[in-house]
């Protein structure tokens, strides 16, 4: 057993990492689906989208061959509507509340239709927005992820000059670095960022990291307002013996390497255990398998009832041949010569539901052993607590506390994963919009505020 790279041929890598949800092949195919949409009033799908995209409207626009209007409808509510159409857990959001579900019919393929319009807009570089006259105001945004880009786009449209400081060498945040490549290709992520910044008035400075070569007081001095969209950091520690052995890796780091170095360069074990069952765990497990791991086992301490990923995601993992070990919690990592050899797991059982109805896993005292040479940790991510503390920003266990999108420091706003601890891309986009609205109010006053993000909820 060994952790090695370059396990597959170029063709195999290509096949394994090609688009898992192919787009509509033709205008006609999209029309058939668009015409199924009932065009609901006060539609449940809109209310189930964190960014409140007017879904029936954009689908109707596809049906009338008004693709440009359709893309505008989507991007007005969600400037990352292209990426979201590929990565959103839609069965929990828009598609999950489609009224067709209540008729026991397949819901409208909202994501696929959204992709149909947005891909055309992005590849065609359609100019759908114009900037308002310059206000003379300047805003600094830290982090070119979904929250930062979304905030930047709204602000720039309102005539504000935006500079984004990004610690990586590419924009997109977790969209670019933290999501399975078969969902969004690196090229798409780059195109999406370029499309957003093509509006003008948004300048991204790469390789600038807060706390390293960038300081908050500097930004406060040089800009009229600051928005922090710094996301969350490394995977949560397992806090078990053997965690530091060679072969225990962080899922985010693993996916980051996969996205930044190219598939053949990323080493993977023969027998891999993935800890956790969120979207990141699924992405890590399936991609480990697709990189050529012989056996991948997902270890989760609860049951399918409680799992955080969607059924569809679980299905992808199963189809990829990943095994599932329910009711198992990592207890100890054992190894030889500093390298991982075994993962000892406690067998858990679920307690009776607590007041909130949640059933906690309880150790039965029994254990079992998985023979592995690689362990990927994907049991949640940890906020940048030290950084936030050092900047004297109020937080709760590392999550920035905001009031009306503002931190405790005047003129400094925040949103996205660094505030909520880690949610979906679409939630971060909405946070960015709301942050922008708050900044506009702070800078130019609410009476001039033209952007309405406050749709009734």
């Amino acid at each position: 057993m060994a952790i090695v790279n370059n396990r597959l041929t170029a063709e195999q890598y290509n096949e394994n990492f090609s688009d898992i949800h192919p787009p509509f092949e033709s205008r006609e195919a999209a029309l058939v689906e668009a015409n199924r949409c009932l065009f609901c009033y006060d539609a449940p799908c809109i209310k189930s989208c964190p960014t409140s995209i007017n879904i029936p409207k954009f689908i109707k626009q596809i049906a009338t061959d008004n693709i440009k209007g359709s893309a505008h409808t989507i991007f007005s509510a969600n400037i990352m509507g292209g990426g979201c159409s590929k990565v959103c857990p839609v069965e929990k959001l828009c598609e999950g509340s489609c009224v067709y579900n209540l008729m026991h019919e397949k819901p409208i393929a909202i994501a696929k239709l959204q992709r149909h319009s947005t891909e055309k807009a992005i590849s065609g570089q359609w100019r759908l927005f114009e900037r308002k006259p310059a206000t003379g105001k300047k805003v600094a945004i830290v982090g070119a992820g979904p929250a930062g880009l979304s905030c930047a786009h709204v602000l720039s449209r309102e005539g504000i000059e935006v500079t984004i400081f990004e610690k990586e060498s590419k924009g997109g945040g977790l969209m670019t670095y933290g999501i399975a490549a078969y969902k969004v290709t690196p090229q798409f992520c780059e195109d999406e960022v370029n499309y957003i910044t093509s509006l003008g008035g948004i300048h991204i400075q790469y390789n600038k990291e807060l706390g390293k070569n960038l300081s908050l007081p500097e930004l406060q001095r040089d800009y009229d307002a600051v928005y922090l969209g710094i996301g969350v950091g490394v995977a949560r520690q397992l806090d078990i013996p053997g965690e530091t052995l060679d072969g225990v890796v962080d899922a985010i780091q693993f996916i980051y390497e996969l996205r930044s170095k190219g598939y053949p360069a990323v080493p993977v074990g023969d027998k891999v255990a993935v800890i956790g069952l969120g979207m990141t765990a699924i992405d890590a497990a399936t991609q480990a398998k697709r990189l050529g791991a012989k056996e991948v086992t997902i270890v989760y301490r609860r049951t399918q009832e409680e799992m955080p990923c969607t059924e569809a995601e679980l299905e992808i993992a199963k189809l990829d041949g990943c095994k599932l070990q329910w009711l198992a919690a990592p207890k100890e990592v054992k190894g030889q010569d500093g390298k991982v050899q075994q993962l000892i797991c406690s067998i858990m059982q679920l307690s009776a539901p607590d007041a909130s109805g949640r059933r906690a896993p309880v150790d039965t005292g029994q254990t079992f052993t998985l023979e592995v040479d690689m362990i990927i940790k994907a049991a949640g991510q940890v906020p940048f607590e030290a950084l936030i503390t050092s900047e004297q920003i109020h937080h709760q266990q590392g999550k920035i506390i905001i009031k009306n999108n503002a931190t405790n420091i005047p003129g400094v706003f925040a949103g996205g994963d660094c505030v909520n601890g880690g949610k979906e891309v679409v939630d971060a986009v909405q946070a960015g919009k709301e942050g922008a609205a708050a900044i506009l109010e702070y800078l130019v006053g609410s009476e001039q505020l033209a952007v309405s993000n406050h749709q009734h909820k």
Binding site: L31, V32, A34, N35, L38, F39, C40, Y41, D42, A43, P44, C45, K47, S48, A63, S97, V99, Y100, L102, M103, K457
Partner: protein
């Protein structure tokens, strides 16, 4: 099993489905394929005056992703040699003696031309003649087709010429391009036609290419008014048929129903409003002759379910259910009822009623699903909510009479009951 065989003026066919005079019936090849598929009868594409066709000839209207909701053509009558057509008709009659063979005619506007054509057609062994007084494109510019059908006196004259000569049954096909089909219908019945058929196509412009700005069908950068048919025209045809079925003179002769018939249900509706049989064209131009199977099976199964043994048991049964508005019962009142167990919360009933009708539906906000209920005191019973609801029987219109007795407009006024009081 119901007996679906038809007898139209003594012309028998195993089922009441004839192919209308049109491209599908313009030569032996197609006609034999249709008869092999099981069609009851053929109305051979119009023979007559000399013509030359253009290209393109057809266009269509699509709706909500569905192709050919309406169909339009600018093709003229048969452009094949007359003798060839006659020879092929003769052969088809011999090969399928149990099917109806009707020949559509449109001669030049003189007595001799008509007499010559009739003699030639009768010589083929065909069972009947249909007079094309309806074609609304090309031929009408030369004083034929709908130009005849639009003028009752010209139509009367031509039918009189025809009846002087014809020894087999004559059906006169009416044009819908008039304010009412009844005057021409009356004139030709008085002139002796044995039967009527309706409707021919309706003059139309189906659409415009938004890139080139040229209306379709495009003939070298120009277009011309065409004849509209297909499912879109069915309601218009049914209305015109009803006026023929209700008129004292025109109702004396049998009617062959035409206009957007695609399914057995459509056919039954035409027959309930007085058609003795039906003619089909657009549906086969979209799907081919194979649709005859379900036309026959669907009709037969429906008749069995309803207990109708023969076609005559139900032909015309709905004619007297259409009356004048002033005879309708004002005391009849229905109120919408949204069945919550079936509601999928799409809100279509609400927005239709709220924006365009009587604000009779209450919205109770929910995330993600709103609840919709009827304000019974506001509901006027218009049906709109039920019509737009995507779930069958989710909205029912329940009867809540305003009074026990039948009360029509005349009586309502006589009693001086309140007006404009909603």
């Amino acid at each position: 099993m119901a007996n679906i065989s038809a007898n139209f003026l003594g012309i028998k066919s195993p089922n009441p489905f004839w192919l209308a005079s049109a491209p599908p019936t313009d030569k032996k090849y197609n006609v034999l394929r249709a008869l092999e598929a099981g069609w009851g009868g053929i109305v051979w594409k119009t023979l007559g005056s000399q013509v030359k066709n253009v290209s393109s000839r057809y266009s269509a209207v699509d709706y909500h992703g569905s192709r050919v909701m309406g169909f339009n053509n600018i093709e003229l009558i048969s452009d094949r040699p007359l003798e060839l057509n006659l020879q092929e008709i003769r052969e088809c009659v011999k090969l399928f003696p149990d099917r109806a063979m009707i020949v559509s005619l449109m001669a030049d506007n003189d007595r001799n031309s008509w007499h010559e054509m009739i003699a030639k057609v009768e010589d083929t062994g065909a069972h009947g003649i249909e007079l094309n007084f309806g074609c609304p494109h090309g031929m009408n510019e030369r004083g034929m087709g709908s130009a005849v059908g639009q003028d009752p006196e010209i139509a009367r004259m031509v039918v009189e010429w025809v009846m002087e000569k014809a020894t087999i049954p004559v059906i006169t096909k009416l044009t819908p391009n008039v304010h009412s089909v009844v005057p021409t219908g009356k004139a030709v019945v008085e002139a002796g036609t044995n039967a009527l058929s309706l409707i021919n196509t309706i003059q139309s412009v189906t659409g415009i290419d938004l890139d080139t700005l040229i209306p379709n069908p495009n003939v070298g950068g120009q277009s011309a008014f065409g004849g509209y048919c297909g499912p879109a025209v069915k309601p218009i045809a049914l209305k015109m048929l009803t006026t023929i079925s209700q008129d004292a003179v025109t109702s004396r002769v049998p009617v062959s129903g035409i206009g957007g018939i695609s399914t057995w249900k459509d056919a039954v509706e035409f027959m309930l409003l007085g058609a003795s049989n039906v003619q089909v064209c657009t549906a086969v131009m979209k799907h081919g002759f194979r649709i005859i199977e379900d036309l026959c099976e669907g009709l037969s199964n429906w008749m069995d379910e309803k207990g109708f043994a023969t076609l005559n048991d139900f032909i015309g049964q709905s004619v007297n259910r259409i009356t004048k508005w002033e005879a309708l019962d004002i005391n009849y009142h229905i109120i919408a009822n949204i069945h919550q167990d079936k509601c999928v919360h799409c809100g279509l009933c609400y927005i239709a009623c709220e924006d365009t009708s009587h604000q009779s539906i209450h919205l109770e906000y929910g995330k993600p699903y709103n609840t919709y209920t009827v304000k019974t005191e506001e509901c006027v019973g218009c049906n709109l909510c039920k019509l737009v609801c995507p779930v069958e029987d989710c909205i029912t219109m329940d009867e809540h009479r305003k009074g026990p007795e039948y009360l029509n407009w005349t009586e309502y006024q006589r009693r001086g009951l309140p007006l404009n009081d909603h």
